[in-house]
Structure formats: C-alpha cells, structure tokens
C-alpha cells in the first residue's frame, strides 16, 4: 500500500463534513431568499461599510497573531531549552486554562477589566488613576491573545523540543551572540512549527465572535458578529453565506502569502 493512502480516511471525512456542507453555503451565497439565482448578495456587501468591518477583523487577527508569536515563541523556546526538567508539565499548564469554559473565562476577564472591576479597584486602592479598559480595542486584543496563545506555543514547542541543543552550544562556544544564535540557528529550524502556529491562530481569529463583543462591550463590530447577525437575528442565510465565502477566500489568500515565506514550501498552500 502506498503511504499516501493513509490520508484517504481524512480526505473522505473532510469532503463529507466540510466540503459538502460548504456547498450549501455556496448555494445560499448565489441565491436570494426565494431561492432564485442572484449575485446581488455580492453587490450588497461590496460597499465601503462592509469593507471596513472586514478590514477591522483582518487587522485585529493580524495583531493577535503577531502578539501570540512575540509572546509564544520565546515561551516555547525557553520551555524547549534544557533548563526546565518539568517542561512537559508546564506546556500542559499553558493549555489547561482553555479547558475552562470560554464564556466563563471571558466573564472573568470582564470582571477584571470593567470600570469598577478588579484591576481598577486595585489601582484606586493604590492611589492611582483608573484606566478605561473595557470597550477598547486593547481589551479585545488581550482577550484574543489569551484565547489563542496556546495554539502558538504548542506547535512551536514540539519542533523546538527535538532541536539538537549541541548545535546551539557549539555556536555559543564559537562566540556567536544569543541574537545571532536564535536568528541563524533556531529560527530556521522552527519555521514549520511557526507556520502551523500562525495558521491555528490567524484563521480562527479572523472570524472570532463573542470575545470581541464582550470585551468591547459590543462597540467593535467584527465580521464574525456580522455573520452571526445575518444568520440568526435577520435569518438571512444568503447574505451571511456570501460574507463568509468572501472571508474564506481572503483568509486562504493571505495564508497563501505566508506559505510563500516558508522556505521549503512543503507545507503547501494555494500556489
């Protein structure tokens, strides 16, 4: 049996439970509510207003991914170094908060960030000024980073873990500065893990909902919220499907760009 056949069950499953349901999405995107063919849904969302919402979502997802990388990469690197004998436990500890219910976690975060919340009460008791956190883009970003950080740390950690530390030590012994060691030796070796991490953070982050709604107090309207509004509040699957279709294409295009950066491109992409 050829080794590529191992992917058959996966491929079949993806076709049945991902591609086929998406045909419904495709059908709705090109029909009106009476079921007749139309491209009006696309015309409708081709306005600057909708564009701004899409842009906001992409922008926030980008910064979320960047922050996850900036925080997550060193975390994974340190954990993979031989300084921590209990690194495995620490890695799982990074994931465990995500096993607590998402909504409860976000409520806890609201309790921290609110005007009369825990942080502001602390600041005030220290004689400091209160800060407006809830309702700001900053709060939304913190919430997103919180929810996606483990999805960056784990894949990067798994590739760094098997890295040959004697290579690093050799470089250090030869007088290479730590920055040089990381940029010349560590980074190139960890690219596959980073690409996976970025994929698992960026893609879901673009269409995230509820986090943005709760931490921005409903003041920042992202594409995930908009699609939910169309599907549920307005019961208009047609426009909702159109938006998610456009979103899908945009995200896969931007991930395709990322794959171009990937040196040996064996991970694949659109091109």
């Amino acid at each position: 049996m050829k080794r590529s056949w191992y992917a058959a069950p996966y491929g079949l499953w993806m076709v049945l439970f991902t591609v086929v349901p998406l045909l419904f999405v495709l059908y709705y995107a090109f029909t009106d509510q009476s079921g007749a063919f139309t491209v009006n849904n696309f015309v409708k969302i081709a306005s600057p207003m909708y564009g701004l919402v899409l842009w906001d979502s992409l922008r926030l997802a980008f910064f979320c991914t960047l922050l996850c990388l900036l925080i997550g990469y060193p975390t994974a690197y340190f954990l993979a170094s031989r300084d921590f004998s209990n690194a495995q436990t620490l890695v799982v500890l990074i994931l465990v908060p995500m096993w607590m219910n998402f909504l409860l976690r976000t409520y806890a975060m609201m309790t921290l960030f609110e005007n009369n919340g825990v942080i502001n009460t602390l600041l005030e008791s220290l004689g400091l000024q209160r800060i407006q956190m809830i309702g700001t883009e900053g709060a939304v970003l913190v919430g997103m980073v919180y929810n996606f950080l483990p999805f960056m740390v784990l894949p990067v950690y798994t590739v760094l873990k098997k890295m040959d530390y004697s290579v690093i030590e050799a470089a250090e012994d030869l007088g290479a500065s730590p920055v040089r060691v990381v940029s010349r030796v560590v980074l190139p070796m960890s690219i596959p893990g980073v690409v996976s991490g970025i994929t698992m953070v960026f893609m879901p982050a673009v269409t995230t909902f509820a986090i943005s709604r709760m931490l921005s107090s409903g003041m920042i309207y992202l594409v995930g919220d908009m699609i939910e509004d169309y599907f549920i509040a307005m019961n208009n699957r047609n426009v909702g499907s159109t938006i998610s279709l456009v979103m899908l294409v945009l995200i896969i295009l931007s991930i395709g760009l990322l794959r171009k950066v990937d040196p040996d491109n064996s991970g694949g992409g659109l091109w």
Partner: protein, 263 residues
C-alpha cells in the same frame, strides 16, 4: 563565569514563563473566586458560600451535560487524532499538488465561522435524513478537530529525517511496521499536541454542537443558554472542580515523570 551567566539566563527564562502563566491564570483565579460568591451576580461579592457546589451535584441537567461533554470530546479526540495523524503521514508522501489541495481543504473548518459550519452541517444532516443526536454532534466535532491534529503533526514530519523510513524499508521492514516503529515515535510530540488541541476545541464548542445535536447538550451549550437569565456560580463551581482534577492529574503524572515518556 559561564555558569553564572547560565544561571542568570535561567532565572530570566523562569521569570518570563511565570509572567506568561500569570497572564493565563489570573482570569482562572477570578473564576474560582466567583464560585464561592454568595451572590448570583458576578458583579457583587456578598460573602463566601459553598452552596453552589451543593447545587451543582443536585442538578441533573448539568451532570448530564458533563457526561455528554466528556463522551463527545473523548471520542472526537481519539478519532481525530488517529485520522489526522494518518492524514498527515499520507499527505507528507503525496505529490505537492495533491497535498496542497488537501491542506487548503483543511483550512476550511478553521476559517469558516462556527455559525456557518453549524447551520450548514445541520442542513446537510437533515437533507440526507440522518437524525440529529449525539453521533451527528460527534461527527461534526471530528470534522473541526482533525485539522488541528494535522497541523500539529505536519511540522514534526517535515523535521524528520526522510532517510529513516527508507532505511527501515531497505532493511526489510514491513511498511506498516516501519510506520509504527520509525515514524510514529519520531512524531509523537506532534501527535500528543494535536490530541490536546483537539480535546480543547471539543470541550469549548457550543455553536456547532447546538445545531448538530438534538436533546443531548454539552456544557458549553448550557453555559451559553444560561447567559440570558444569568450564569449561576454553579458553572464556576464546576469549572473549579474540573480545574482541580486536571491539575491534580497533571501533578501526579509529573511526579512520575510519565509525560516525559509519552511525549
């Protein structure tokens, strides 16, 4: 001199990790505190109580949901881990064009908003007359879990020395045995990571579960529907208990150094 530098470096690394963990755990601590709050509202602290823990064990609905959550998450994790790992191995051996196509398909469940996935899966199940229930929910969970396994295993495969597998075959090893003896141990950390991430995704899903199930409800669905009337601290109590159990297990495993062996 070098030793002292190393020690300082280790201290800095430790400090960084401590900060990251603090960031991740402060909301969890707030959550635990809320489980002891006498008031139903998270906005007011009116005193310490254990009532919510008592109420938790009396709630048939929450206990049933806990059962559904764990059953669904465990089955979905096991199936998606096996399928995702085999998928990654297969794709690694494929021609670039075919692999690229499959990878792009794998992006779809990650990118499609839950509401769209949920509604379209529901419509599909109804269209082909599969009655909704626990099993449709599990199938949906497998579908959105597996890409996470795939993307966790792939980097390990790419990192692996391709000659290892060939060498095993050259030495007369049966392909299935070579897979089991050579490839799997090499990519094990990726598999464990993938399984952990899949389990995490499953535990937290409510939108897709809502649209693909019938009378079986998981905890996330309960919490989400409870929000309208106010989430009772029983939910915080349940999370606290889950947290303690997980933490306890982790410490035991760590003590025995078992994790070091599996990952």
């Amino acid at each position: 001199m070098k030793n002292r530098g190393h020690r300082a470096g280790k201290l800095l690394k430790g400090l960084w990790l401590a900060l990251v963990l603090a960031f991740l755990y402060i909301p969890i601590i707030v959550m635990i505190a809320l489980s002891f709050n006498a008031s139903v509202s998270r906005a007011a602290w009116t005193g310490f109580t254990l009532d919510w823990y008592v109420k938790l064990f009396k709630s048939k609905q929450i206990m049933a949901a806990l059962n559904v959550t764990i059953t669904v998450a465990v089955i979905a994790t096991v199936v998606s881990t096996v399928m995702g790992t085999l998928g990654a191995i297969g794709m690694h051996a494929m021609s670039t064009g075919m692999a690229n196509l499959l990878i792009n398909v794998s992006y779809l469940p990650m990118t499609t908003p839950d509401i769209v996935t949920g509604v379209s899966l529901m419509l599909m199940f109804i269209f082909v007359k599969v009655p909704l229930g626990k099993w449709t929910m599990i199938m949906a969970h497998i579908a959105f879990d597996t890409p996470y396994v795939l993307f966790s295993v792939m980097p390990k495969l790419r990192q692996m020395n391709p000659n290892l597998y060939e060498a095993a075959l050259d030495l007369g090893c049966h392909p299935a045995k070579a897979l089991y003896k050579v490839i799997i141990p090499e990519i094990m950390p990726g598999i464990v990571t993938g399984a952990l991430l899949a389990f995490t995704m499953s535990l937290d899903d409510f939108v897709i579960s809502y649209f693909t199930s019938n009378t079986d409800q998981n905890l996330a669905m309960i919490v989400y529907s409870a929000a309208r009337r106010g989430v009772e601290p029983t939910m915080y109590a349940l999370s606290t208990l889950m947290f303690i159990v997980v933490l306890g297990l982790l410490l035991i495993v760590n003590r025995r150094n078992g994790l070091e062996e599996i990952a």
